[in-house]
C-alpha cells in the first residue's frame, strides 16, 4: 500500500461538496481509494485502524481538511495529489459563460454549438414561431404546447421532414431520447425497444410496462396527438418508424395511438413492411386484420403491446400474471344490491380510455367527457350517472388550470362526491409518477380517500377504491412506496392500465373476468 496525505489548514467545505469531492477523487485514474474528511480525532482513529494514517495527518486538527490518497500498485501517490487539490479549488462564481441568459432560440443555438434539441412549452399562439426558429437552427423539437393551429403543425412537420429533424408535437407530453426523459416521462431502463406514440400517457404506460418486464427503451418518440389525423398525415410517426428502423440500438418497435384516420393508418402500416424489424401496433380499438396483413404484430391492450415487444426483443419467456379473479369476486360480494356502478377518475387520457373500453366491450353503457358516442357524452361540470369515466386531463377540465398531474384538487373533490352516491360500487383512479408529475400524487390523495371511505362506511356501504400507479422503481417517488401508501389506506392496487380495466369490469360484471 502506498499512501500519501496532506492537510489543508482551516479549510471548510460543506458536506455535499465534500462528498462530491470524495467521489471524484476516487474516480481519478491510479487512485485505489481516496478519503477527504475533517481532521477530527475520531476520523484519524478510523484512518489508523485501516492503516492509512500517514504521519503528516497526526497534526491535523478539527478545523483542518485531511486528504488521504492510497494509490494503485505502480503509481506514485504524490503524483495524484495535484489532481485531487484541483478538485478543492472552488470554481470562481460564474462571471462568464454561466451568467449569460439568452432571449431567443437563435442566439442560444449560436452560442451553444452542441445544442441539438429544443423543448418548447410556451403559449400556443407563439409556439409555432419558436418551433420554426428551432428547426431553422437545426434543432430537433419537442413541442409541448397545445392550441397550436393545425396548419402550423403541417408546415412545421413539412419543414422538419425536409431537414431530417424530429418534430415531436404540438401537444407532445412525453418523449425519451437517448435515455433522457423529456417533459412527462418515467425513469425506465435503457434497452432495445423503440416507441413511436401519438398518445402521451399511453406511451408512458407502455414504457413502464416494458420496464416492469425487465426490458428497456431505446428511444420513445412522441408525435403529438394530431399526427395521425387526415390533415397531418402521420408525418412524424412515419419519420419516427424510419429513424428507429435505422437505429442500431433498436430491435423492436411499438406504435401507440388512438385510432388513426383510415388513410393515414394505411400509410403508417405500409412502413412496417420495410422497417426490417418487428413492429407491434397498439392503436386503441384498431383492427387486427389490417395490422396482420401489413406484417405487424397486433396488440389488443397496452399490456399486450409491452409484452409482445419484450418477447420480440429477445425475451420470449416474458409473461404477465392474469387477473386475480378471487379478489374481484370478494370485492363484488361486499357490495349492497344498489351498488352497481363504477366511477373512473383519471389523470391520463389513454388510461381512462383503456378502462372505459373494458366496460364498453362488455356491453355496459359508459358516460364520459371523452366518449365518442354523443349520446353518452357527459360535460365536465355535470354529476356522474351510471358508469362514468372522466379524463381530468381533457381540455374541458384543464381550461385555465394546471394539468391534474400537477394540480389534483378537482379530482379530490370529485372523489368525495362519488362516495356519497349510494349507487357507486367502486371508484377507479390512476396515479401518474415521473418527471413533470406531482411530487407525491398518492400522498395528496390519501386524505380524500380516507374521507370517501368513511362517508361510505358511515352509510353502511363498502366503497371499493381501485388505484393504479403508473411509475417505476426509478421514479421519484418510486412506485413501490406509492403503492404501499395506497394499500395502507385500503385501496385495491392494480398492476397495469390493462388490468385496471379488467378489474373494473370484473367487479361489476360477474363472469367477465378476462
Amino acid at each position: 500500500m502506498s499512501v500519501t496525505a496532506l492537510v489543508k489548514k482551516n479549510t471548510y467545505i460543506d458536506s455535499v461538496s465534500l462528498m462530491s469531492i470524495s467521489t471524484k477523487a476516487n474516480a481519478i485514474a491510479g487512485v485505489s481509494q481516496a478519503f477527504v474528511a475533517m481532521g477530527t480525532e475520531k476520523n484519524k482513529e478510523v484512518l489508523k485502524s485501516v492503516g492509512l494514517l500517514a504521519p503528516e495527518l497526526e497534526a491535523a486538527t478539527n478545523g483542518d481538511l485531511m486528504i488521504v490518497v492510497d494509490a494503485e500498485a505502480g503509481v506514485a501517490p504524490e503524483e495524484l495529489v495535484p489532481a485531487i487539490e484541483e478538485l478543492l479549488v472552488r470554481k470562481a462564481p460564474a462571471g462568464g459563460a454561466a451568467d449569460v441568459t439568452y432571449r431567443t432560440i437563435t442566439t442560444a443555438a449560436q452560442a451553444n454549438d452542441g445544442a441539438n434539441l429544443a423543448v418548447i412549452a410556451v403559449n400556443g399562439a407563439y409556439a409555432a414561431r419558436e418551433a420554426r426558429k428551432a428547426l431553422e437552427n437545426g434543432l430537433h423539437v419537442m413541442l409541448f404546447s397545445d392550441n397550436v393551429p393545425v396548419e402550423d403543425e403541417v408546415a412545421l412537420k413539412a419543414l422538419a421532414h425536409e431537414k431530417g429533424l424530429l418534430m415531436m408535437g404540438p401537444d407532445c407530453g412525453t418523449a425519451i431520447i437517448n435515455n433522457v426523459g423529456l417533459c412527462f416521462a418515467n425513469a425506465v431502463r435503457p434497452g432495445t425497444i423503440g416507441v413511436v406514440a401519438a398518445s402521451g400517457t399511453g406511451s408512458q404506460e407502455v414504457s413502464v410496462r416494458i420496464h416492469a418486464l425487465g426490458a428497456g427503451i431505446s428511444q420513445l418518440i412522441g408525435t403529438g396527438g394530431r399526427d395521425l389525423s387526415e390533415q397531418v398525415g402521420g408525418v412524424m410517426m412515419i419519420d419516427g418508424i424510419r429513424a428507429l428502423a435505422a437505429d442500431p440500438g433498436t430491435e423492436a418497435i411499438v406504435l401507440v395511438s388512438k385510432p388513426p384516420a383510415p388513410s393515414v393508418e394505411k400509410k403508417v402500416l405500409a412502413e412496417i413492411a420495410t422497417a426490417g424489424k418487428p413492429v407491434v401496433v397498439y392503436f386503441i380499438g384498431g383492427s387486427e386484420a389490417a395490422v396482420a396483413a401489413a406484417g405487424g404484430h397486433f396488440a389488443a391492450s397496452s399490456q399486450d403491446a409491452a409484452l409482445q415487444a419484450v418477447r420480440l426483443a429477445g425475451d420470449p419467456e416474458a409473461s404477465v400474471p392474469g387477473l386475480d379473479v378471487a379478489r374481484a369476486d370478494a370485492a363484488r360480494a361486499g357490495f349492497a344490491p344498489e351498488q352497481r356502478y363504477v366511477r373512473g377518475l383519471f389523470c391520463g387520457g389513454t388510461l381512462c380510455d383503456e378502462s372505459m373500453f373494458a366496460l364498453l366491450d362488455a356491453g355496459e353503457d359508459v358516460w364520459s367527457n371523452i366518449q365518442k358516442d354523443p349520446a353518452f357524452v357527459l360535460a365536465a361540470g355535470s354529476p356522474s350517472k351510471g358508469h362514468t369515466f372522466l379524463d381530468f386531463g381533457d381540455d374541458e377540465f384543464t381550461n385555465g388550470r394546471p394539468h391534474p398531474m400537477i394540480d389534483p384538487s378537482l379530482r379530490l373533490a370529485r372523489l368525495v362526491e362519488e362516495a356519497k352516491d349510494p349507487s357507486v360500487a367502486a371508484v377507479v383512479m390512476d396515479f401518474v409518477l415521473g418527471f413533470g408529475a406531482h411530487e407525491d400524487p398518492v400522498g395528496v390523495t390519501i386524505p380524500a380517500i380516507t374521507e370517501a371511505k368513511k362517508i361510505a362506511a358511515d352509510a353502511g356501504r363498502h366503497l371499493e377504491i381501485v388505484g393504479y400507479v403508473l411509475g417505476t422503481d426509478r421514479d421519484t417517488p418510486n412506485a413501490a412506496a406509492q403503492i404501499a401508501a395506497l394499500e395502507s389506506v385500503g385501496v385495491t392496487v392494480t398492476r397495469s392500465s390493462t388490468e385496471t380495466g379488467q378489474y373494473a369490469r370484473a367487479i361489476v360484471r360477474k363472469g367477465h373476468n378476462a
Binding site: L18, E41, K42
Partner: protein, 310 residues
C-alpha cells in the same frame, strides 16, 4: 425587463430571538469563519453566528437573509463583521448592510412530552421511522452501499457501534458508559458536522423535551463536550451545544413538536404532515439530515421504552 435596477443591499428576513437579545445587551465583532453558498458563518463572542439564505430554516444564532449565494458577494474568510442591535456590517462588502430593526424574531420552542400517551408516541415514532427508511440517505449511520471503500466501511461500522453503545448505556441509565459512547461518536465522520455528532444532535433534542426520560443523554453529551472541547469541528460543536439545550433549526423542532403534539387527526394524516419538515431535514448536508433523524428516532424509541419501564 431584465435591465431593471436592483437594490445593491441585501435584506435580513428573520433572526433568532436569543441572538437579538444578546445583541441588545452588547454588540459583537468577529471574523468571517467560513463562507458557503447558503451560509456565512461569523465567529463572534466565542460563538458562531450564521447569516443564512432565504431557503434555509431559522436556526439558533442565525439571521436569515435574502442572499441567494454568499460566495458571490466577495466576502473573504477573516473579514471583520460587526453586529449590533440594529445592523450587521461586513468589512469590505458594503453591499452587505443588514438592517435588523424591522425583521421578525424567531423563537426556538419545544412542547412538552406530557401531552402524548405512550401508544400514540409509539405510532408516531413508527411513522417517522417509515419516512426515514423510505427517504434517508445511506453512508452516515445508515449502512453505506455495497461498493463503499474500506475507509467508508470502517467508518460506518464505528458509527453504528457507537450509536448502539450510546442507546444501550442510556437504556441502562449508565452515565459512565454513556459518556464513553458519546466520546466514541464525537467528531466521527468526514463532514463539517460529523455523522456521529449528527446522531447525537437528534438524540439530544428528544432528551431536551420537557418531561423526557432521557436526561442521561444530555448529561453524557455535555460531559464529553466539556472534556474534549477540540474533538470536533466548531460548527458541529455549536450545533450540539444548542441541541442539548433544546434549540435546533426550525424544521427539526417542527418534527419534534408534531410528534409531541396533543392527539388530533389519524395516523395517515400525521405522516402526511410530517413529510415536509422531514424532507427539509433530510436535505441538510449530504448524510447529515439522515443522521440527525436517525438520532431522533433512536431517542423517541428509547423514550417509549423507558416510559414503559417506569
Amino acid at each position: 425587463m431584465a435591465t431593471q435596477l436592483r437594490a445593491p443591499v441585501c435584506r435580513a428576513l428573520s433572526l433568532d430571538a436569543r441572538l437579538a437579545s444578546a445583541l441588545d445587551k452588547a454588540p459583537m465583532t468577529g471574523p468571517v469563519h467560513s463562507v458557503f453558498r447558503r451560509v456565512l458563518n461569523v465567529l463572534a463572542a466565542d460563538r458562531l453566528v450564521a447569516l443564512s439564505s432565504e431557503g434555509l430554516d431559522d436556526a439558533p444564532w442565525s439571521v436569515r437573509t435574502d442572499v441567494a449565494d454568499w460566495r458571490r458577494l466577495g466576502v473573504e474568510v477573516g473579514a471583520v463583521v460587526v453586529l449590533d442591535s440594529g445592523h450587521i456590517a461586513v468589512e469590505g462588502a458594503p453591499g452587505i448592510a443588514l438592517d435588523l430593526r424591522h425583521c421578525q424574531k424567531w423563537h426556538a420552542t419545544v412542547s412538552s412530552a406530557a401531552a402524548v400517551a405512550t401508544d400514540l408516541l409509539a405510532r408516531r415514532t413508527a411513522a417517522l421511522e417509515g419516512l426515514l427508511d423510505a427517504r434517508g440517505v445511506p453512508g452516515g449511520v445508515v449502512p453505506p452501499r455495497a461498493d463503499a471503500s474500506p475507509i467508508e466501511a470502517e467508518l460506518g461500522r464505528r458509527l453504528r457501534a457507537g450509536c448502539e453503545r450510546l442507546t444501550q448505556a442510556v437504556r441502562a441509565n449508565d452515565d459512565g458508559a454513556a459518556s464513553l459512547a458519546a466520546r466514541s461518536l464525537l467528531g466521527l465522520g468526514p463532514g463539517l458536522t460529523p455523522a456521529g455528532d449528527d446522531f447525537m444532535v437528534g438524540l439530544a433534542l428528544v432528551a431536551a423535551v420537557p418531561g423526557s426520560r432521557l436526561v442521561a443523554v444530555g448529561r453524557a453529551i455535555r460531559a464529553v463536550l466539556d472534556a474534549c472541547p477540540d474533538h470536533t469541528t466548531l460548527v458541529s460543536r455549536a450545533t450540539l451545544e444548542e441541541a442539548v439545550a433544546g434549540r435546533a433549526r426550525e424544521s427539526l423542532l417542527g418534527i419534534l413538536n408534531r410528534v409531541f403534539a396533543a392527539p388530533h387527526g389519524d395516523d395517515a394524516r400525521f405522516a402526511e404532515h410530517l413529510r415536509t419538515p422531514v424532507d427539509r431535514v433530510l436535505s441538510i448536508g449530504h448524510t447529515s439530515g439522515t443522521d440527525i433523524l436517525s438520532g431522533l428516532v433512536a431517542g423517541l424509541r428509547l423514550e417509549n421504552e423507558l416510559r414503559g419501564s417506569m
